[in-house]
Each structure stands twice: as structure tokens, then as C-alpha cells.
Symmetry: C2
DNA sequence: CAGATGCATTGATGTAGGATAAGAAATGAA
DNA sequence: TTCATTTCTTATCCTACATCAATGCATCTG
């Protein structure tokens, strides 16, 4: 469980094995079952979650009780509510497990400790923030203009592996359409003999 | 022109007047007329634009020739394509002037020089990134679920002053609806005796 | 001043996608 | 295996919003 995290992490920093081991000494791990909720809307987010195996998602629930999926996090991804943890404010988001998943809990102490000793970590973190912005901006752009079909096509080209793992109703929720509409879009694509793989 | 920038800037850093003056020595200023384009889609973004007077906007143009407005920047705002300038990639965005506006051109040399000498600047920049993410995430959420009316109401509560300055068709473009629909939404609100101010 | 030009409104009509309901298929538990 | 639950599909109807087109106003401009 720690292994994949270590690999991931060392690729982003220039820490020696010794440094890594001393810092990671009090990291927490957990295997959670499908459906477990890791962050509740309204709570302040105190951790980032590194997925070493499995699949997490973040989502909101609006006034009408509808879910809107913000992000998926499969293996080797980190998911969190950066706004909440950075500003110490209650989160808008839920984070839960779509599959049984193995998680490394990364808290601020860990982050600060690493930032302290590794310049390249700080740079990587900055890069990650910029990537996040880029990805969100692209999504805003899609939501402003694209049809259901265009959004779905975009999704399966960006996340081909996820397309098979995630239930369709969740993909629909991510795209901002109903499961029924997604089903129709897929049918239409099949009719036009579209081959995703 | 430099004054408002200096005020803005010193509020975010702890630079002395001397430091500021030496660093800002080769900053560029420009007054541009309404409609001037500061960044073209496809070009790499080399500056951030500080608005000391007037109003800028960033937007994309999709395959069908439709504009989608990403952001507005009135007085004392900075606008830019951070992704493009950070990753040195061609920008998706146009940036142009909605009104005649006075701009301070902030280039990387300036940023680097300040980051070099001011910790609080680096912190502020990091905070700005997090704010940007928060704002984008909120917008994604609105676009995923809210009706035209809800989006408009959200807009006028967040940007009451802009509501009066920006032509309605631009607000519509920001909200992802047509000008006609916005006009009907406004009519409907008026009928229900809604008072924005 | 007359005629452009740009923006907002209004009306008529079209359509993508939502709501609802029901059945089929897949998954999973006993 | 069987029964139950969840997911996916299909069909019908409906609504929010788009599209198209006409008109009304301001503001420019020669």
C-alpha cells in the first residue's frame, strides 16, 4: 500500500529513501469498502487522499438532492478539497469510494514537512495547481458550449480506462446529463458505428 | 496609472517603496481603446494584465464561431491565461477590452524578481491560485445543475457592479445562455417584482 | 439630418434533453 | 439456483432553452 505511494511520490520529489521513510513514518493507511464516505459536505477537509488501489470520487448534492460529480480519482491519483483545506472552510464536497479502495491519508504536517526539505516538491505542487486550473477551465468551456454527445466523446477520450469501470449514471452525473440521455447518446453513437476502442 | 497598481501590489507584498520602485522600473503601461485584443487564441500568453481603469474580458471561440466568456476583469483585477504562461503553451483564450482601459503589463521577469525577495508575495500568489480553483469549481457546479435564472441571480449577487457595465449579451455568454433567454429571464424577474439593488 | 450600426426585446417555432414510468439486463447475495 | 437490488435501456410526453425573424431604440457617423 505504501509502495505505490512511495513510487508516485519519489517521482515528484528528490527525497532520499531515508528522508522519505522518516517523514512518512506517521502516515495513515486504510482500506475502505465500496460506498464509504471519506469527506462530508460541511466538514473541513483535513486530508488529501492518495489512491493506491480502487476508485474515489468527489461530488456535491444540490438543493434538489441531485448529485453532481466533480472528479474521479483512480489509482495513483490524489483527491481532496483544496479550497476547504487551504482556507480552512467547510467543504462543499463529498468524497466517497466507488470501489473498495486502499488509501494513503496525507495530512498537512506531511505536506509541510516535505515542502520544508524539497524544492522540487514545492514546484510540483505549484504545477499541480496550474494543471487543476487548466482542467477546470476546459470543463467550464465544455459545459458552456458542447452538446451531450460532444461531452461524452471528450470524456471517453480523456478517461478511456474509467469509462469501463464507472457506472454510466455516474458518468452522466459528471457530464451534467441524465442517465437516460447518456443511454440515448450511446445508442446513437453505436448506430453510427462508432468504435471507442 | 502606476499608482493604483502600486497600492494593489503593496497590499499583497511587504516590499518597501525602494524595492518596489527598483523592480517596477521597466514595467510597461498602456492605454488601449475599446475592442483592442491583448491576447489571441493560439498565442502563448506572456503577460498578466493589471487593470487600473476600465474592463477586460477573456473568452474562447468554439468551432461554430460562438464566443464563451470565461472571465471579466474590472479595476484592480489581474487577468491572464495562467496555464498558457506557466506551461508555455498556446492559449485557448482571447483577452480584449470591453471599455477603453489602462493596463499594467506584468511579465515573468517582474514576477520572478518579486517572488525572489518577498515571501508574502509567494504566499499571496498561492492563495490566488486556490481562489481561482474555488471559483472555477463553483462555476462548474452551477453549470452542471442550475437553471438560467439561478445562474443569472448568482451572477448579479457576485458581480453587482459589473451587471450595470457589461452589455447583456456578454453576461449571457458568460452564463452559457443566449441574449434572448437572458432578456426573458430578466422580464420574468421584473414581473415577480424582483429588486436587484 | 438620414442612414448605419449595435443592442435589447418580443413573438413564433423547433429541438435537445429532462421527467416519468416500465421493462430488460446485469450483479450480487442467500 | 433463485430472488432482489441495482443498473441500463426504451418509449412517451413535456419543458427549458435555442433559433430565427421582426421591431424598437440609442448611439454614431458622414
Amino acid at each position: 500500500m505504501l509502495d505505490s505511494f512511495k513510487t508516485y511520490f519519489q517521482s515528484k520529489t528528490n527525497l532520499t529513501d531515508e528522508q522519505f521513510h522518516s517523514i512518512s513514518a506517521n502516515l495513515q493507511f486504510k482500506k475502505v469498502e465500496k460506498g464509504s464516505i471519506l469527506l462530508h459536505q460541511g466538514d473541513v477537509c483535513h486530508h488529501s487522499f492518495f489512491v493506491s488501489k480502487g476508485l474515489l470520487r468527489s461530488y456535491t448534492i444540490d438543493e434538489n438532492g441531485k448529485e453532481h460529480i466533480i472528479q474521479f480519482a483512480p489509482e495513483n491519483w490524489i483527491i481532496s478539497d483544496r479550497s476547504s483545506s487551504y482556507f480552512n472552510e467547510p467543504s462543499e464536497l463529498f468524497i466517497d469510494a466507488i470501489e473498495e479502495t486502499e488509501i494513503v491519508f496525507i495530512d498537512k504536517n506531511f505536506i509541510n514537512a516535505v515542502a520544508e526539505i524539497s524544492i522540487s516538491f514545492r514546484e510540483q505542487d505549484n504545477t499541480a495547481l496550474h494543471n487543476h486550473i487548466r482542467q477546470l477551465q476546459k470543463r467550464v468551456n465544455l459545459l458552456l458550449g458542447a452538446t451531450a454527445e460532444q461531452r461524452y466523446l471528450d470524456f471517453i477520450t480523456i478517461y478511456p480506462s474509467l469509462t469501463l469501470r464507472i457506472p454510466q449514471w455516474m458518468i452522466a452525473s459528471y457530464l451534467g446529463i441524465t442517465p437516460e440521455t447518456l443511454s440515448r447518446v450511446r445508442k446513437e453513437l453505436a448506430k453510427r458505428n462508432f468504435k471507442p476502442y
